[in-house]
């Protein structure tokens, strides 16, 4: 086995250990001092309804109830069941049916957005963007964020809450599509070509930013989130982990972009490997967050600890991978194949999301199994997956823009912390890598690691978090990640303005 593969296995092991550490931390954060909790629970039970942020859309469920023997289980489950029922029925009870003109505007507007996303994802548009050096999804997607934000304003009334509720299934499907697409890139042949020390490099460039960003995010929410909702502690840790997950990754297109400003001989492909493998951090991050931070804990039939949820997640990914593999192998090529692929991704993402697990992670596992064991049709499927990836991201950006609440200053402050923390942590990681593992690393390679803008998967991570954990804190993370992505790319563009590398000149 090559060194790169060893490194990757180490990275996976580290990620697993990290998950367990995260789980323990999360559990500790939930448990806290027993006496204090008991008092809090008594207070909670006295309250008729949990405090709700009026701007946060659906009310965030109250802190996760404890399931120790001394807990009054029936009262808590009863209260949660009531909350769940309220959450389920509120939109239908409170919101009157919109007039046909509003519905029509929503339908037509959304179809236009879909068409724009499709066109923007077209290969010709992509080439044109690259020629202008704005080939990153986030920069190219900035107009979609703005469009989504504008379209959600009451005066415009295109992306109304009703429309957004109607298109929510597309988000779940899109998350699954992205997860499956990422999984498709991690087939066996991928590891065989991996350069030495890649695994160690990935550990450093993801673990250090994750640790720093998690700490910063946790502290930020802990101090500025006082009084916003109940049960702050686990949420602060969760937001920290989400921020860490989103910030650990870089845009896949970053090496191509930076190479345009780099002499040919200095542009080693190994950084592309590192950045590609960083996507795993995103997948594992969402995996652990969704396994250990369970929304609506207590209102469902399956009462499992976080570690067991992790097993469920892996098991589901494995089983669905085998089912999808068997399906695609048995089905006729042509239109039936398309139906099978669409159905497989839908059912996998839907099941994961139904269990409140990460659709990205489960579909990633299924996709990795399918593409490691699949037949000659793999390349064809990969092309289909990649062709739709950009439109899906653009659609995410429209919806993220529509759900964006930029009037909360704490979101912007969070963005500042996030950008500074990410830059600093990547700089530290690149420095350590150059000193200990890749002594021959060039200045340009270091530049790629430190200055790489964030990728579209980071956006998908926070979009998924909005689905799993609706509430004000995720809104801050959305502002931090989307705003931060754009800010970093613009800063990079400005820094490189006027410099033309060999590719740009060509």
């Amino acid at each position: 086995m090559r060194t790169g593969t060893n490194g990757l296995l180490l990275a996976l092991l580290a990620a697993l250990l990290g998950s367990f550490a995260g789980g323990v931390l999360a559990q500790q954060a939930r448990q806290g001092p027993k006496q204090e909790q008991k008092q809090e629970r008594e207070q909670e039970q006295k309250q008729e309804a949990p405090p709700v942020d009026p701007e946060a859309g659906a009310p965030e469920p109250a802190g996760p109830p404890m399931l120790e023997p001394e807990t009054d289980f029936e009262k808590i489950t009863g209260r949660l069941a009531l909350e769940t029922r309220d959450l389920l029925t509120k939109p239908f009870q409170v919101m009157p049916a919109p007039p046909p003109a509003v519905v029509l505007r929503g339908i037509i507007g959304f179809v236009i957005f879909l068409a724009l996303a499709y066109v923007a994802g077209h290969s010709r548009v992509k080439r044109w963007e690259r020629s202008l050096n704005i080939g990153h999804v986030v920069t190219a997607g900035l107009p979609f964020v703005i469009l989504g934000f504008v379209a959600s304003q009451p005066a415009v009334g295109i992306l109304t809450p009703t429309t957004l509720a109607g298109v929510a299934p597309l988000l779940t499907l899109g998350l699954g599509w992205i997860g499956f697409g990422i999984g498709s890139r991690f087939a066996g042949q991928f590891y065989d070509r991996m350069p030495p020390n890649t695994g160690a490099a990935v550990i450093l460039t993801t673990a250090i930013p994750m640790a720093i960003l998690m700490l910063l995010g946790w502290l930020f929410v802990k101090f500025l989130g006082q009084g916003v909702v109940e049960g702050l502690e686990p949420r602060a840790l969760r937001e920290g982990l989400l921020l860490a997950t989103a910030g650990a990754m870089s845009a896949r297109s970053a090496p191509h972009f930076l190479r345009a400003f780099t002499p040919r001989e200095a542009a080693s492909p190994r950084m592309e490997w590192v950045i590609e493998l960083e996507q795993l951090a995103g997948v594992f991050g969402t995996m652990f967050v969704s396994a250990f931070f369970r929304p609506l804990h207590g209102a469902v039939n399956w009462q499992l600890p976080g570690t067991a949820w992790l097993f469920v997640l892996f098991g589901m990914g494995l089983i669905m991978g085998i089912v999808v593999l068997a399906t695609l192998t048995r089905i006729e090529r042509g239109t039936q194949f398309t139906v099978a692929l669409l159905g497989a991704i839908s059912v996998t993402a839907g099941m994961a999301s139904y269990l409140r697990l990460s659709a990205i992670a489960v579909c990633f596992l299924a996709g990795a199994i399918v593409f490691n064991l699949g037949g000659a049709w793999r390349d064809e499927v990969r092309v289909v997956l990649e062709r739709m990836e950009r439109p899906v991201y653009f659609l995410f950006l429209v919806i993220a823009g529509a759900l964006w609440r930029p009037d909360d200053w704490r979101g912007w402050a969070f963005m500042g912390v996030f950008v500074a923390g990410r830059f600093l942590s990547k700089w530290v990681a690149a420095g350590m890598l150059g000193r200990f593992w890749m002594r021959d690393m060039s200045r340009h390679e270091r530049g790629i690691l430190v200055a790489s803008p964030m990728g579209a998967l980071s956006v998908a991570v926070v979009v998924q978090a909005q689905d799993l954990y609706p509430g004000p804190f995720v809104g801050w993370s959305v502002t931090a990640v989307i705003g931060g992505s754009i800010l970093m790319e613009i800063a990079l563009q400005l820094a490189l303005r006027g410099r033309k590398g060999p590719e740009a000149e060509a």
Binding site: L88, I108, A165, P169, Q336, I345, V347, G350, S353, Y354
Partner: protein
Amino acid sequence: MQAILLLTLLGLMHATRTFSPAPLAGSVPASVVMAGGFLLLTALFAGNLAKGIHMPRLTGYLMLGVLVGPQVLGLVTEGMLGQLRIFNGVAIALIALTAGAELDLKTMRPLFRGIAWITLVGVVGTGLLLSVTAFLMRGWLSFMGGMETGTALAVAAMLGTTAAAQSPAVVVALRKELNADGPVSRTVLGVVIVSDLVVILFFAFTSSIARGLLSPSGQQAAGLGTLVWEVAGSMVLGVLIGVLVAAFLRSLSEGGALFVVMVGFLTAEVGQRVHLDPLLLALAAGVFIRNATSYGDRLHHEIESASLPVYISFFAVAGASIHLDALAIVGLPAVTLVVVRGLGFLGGARLGARIAGSEEAVRRYAGFGLLPQAGLALALASLFTRSFPQLGDQSAALVFGVVALNEMFAPILYRMALVRSGEAEKLAETPAPPEALPQAETV
């Protein structure tokens, strides 16, 4: 293997549903995606299994829907079905667009006489016969029990029209499956396509009258204007849609499939909200593209590559929506309508073919090609139940019951008729002009 996969998916779905019997807050979109993907995959397997035992695939889709729906296993709930019915509108529009794109007036000219007489005697005659039967059976149908004679006549006419619908999709699919060609299969194809148009027009007409009669009295005056708007407006706007689609197909070489689905979605969703008939809109667009432009085949190809997921969902959701409990109540009227329909089509087609001087094979076997029901009938049944919710579950059960019975048995009969007429496997020997052989949908 596909049976094992089907069972595995049923088990996985059941296991997942035990997490929480009803979708949790925030899980509603997930449950819709899960149910949609589950229906797509399992119906695909069921369709292939049905094909393996010489049944049409769509029978498999429908039966699977019945099995997993709320009435039997309950893996797909009413709530999930409600969200998944968004496919109905798209499917209705795509079916009508396909039917319109198959209506090549130039190719069908030699068969016009036979087609016209069979349509008139067989289809229109059977429609009238079915309407009279439904009216006479009103004592058995609780939803027509308290109606005045005029209202009952209008509802009976609508039921008769819906029950008279046929299936170009099944006819084309069986023709392709058997490689059949000859006067029987060609005449049947012509009749079912022309009948589509006739049935759609009759449905629009009768439903407008019924809507006027069933609405509060103040709205009755608007009946004629509504009908004119619904029929004439739909046809004019449909032609405009056809112009747009043709312009897209001429300008761009890729993305046509997605574009056609988008057009179907917009036609269905916008059409019904501005009181236009999505069926007529799409049919007019399809007829225009086939006969006034050179993009008919391209449109057919684009629809074929994009429509299968929509069709499968549509049929599976339709199967899951069948109220078996209500069907038990309306079982006798449904069987009566199926029998009357069968006798009417067989007798009417024979008489029409004799008047037109068609060949003996056409006289004997063409009627069997009119028996299958699928896309259009389900589309009309869906429109019927959506337009007149006040008629209740029993009316929905009746129209879907008639369609379900015809779906299950009629394709088998038409398959036998094609084999006996000697037209099976003729296509390979004497290939027909491409215009007459639209690419069969796998439904």
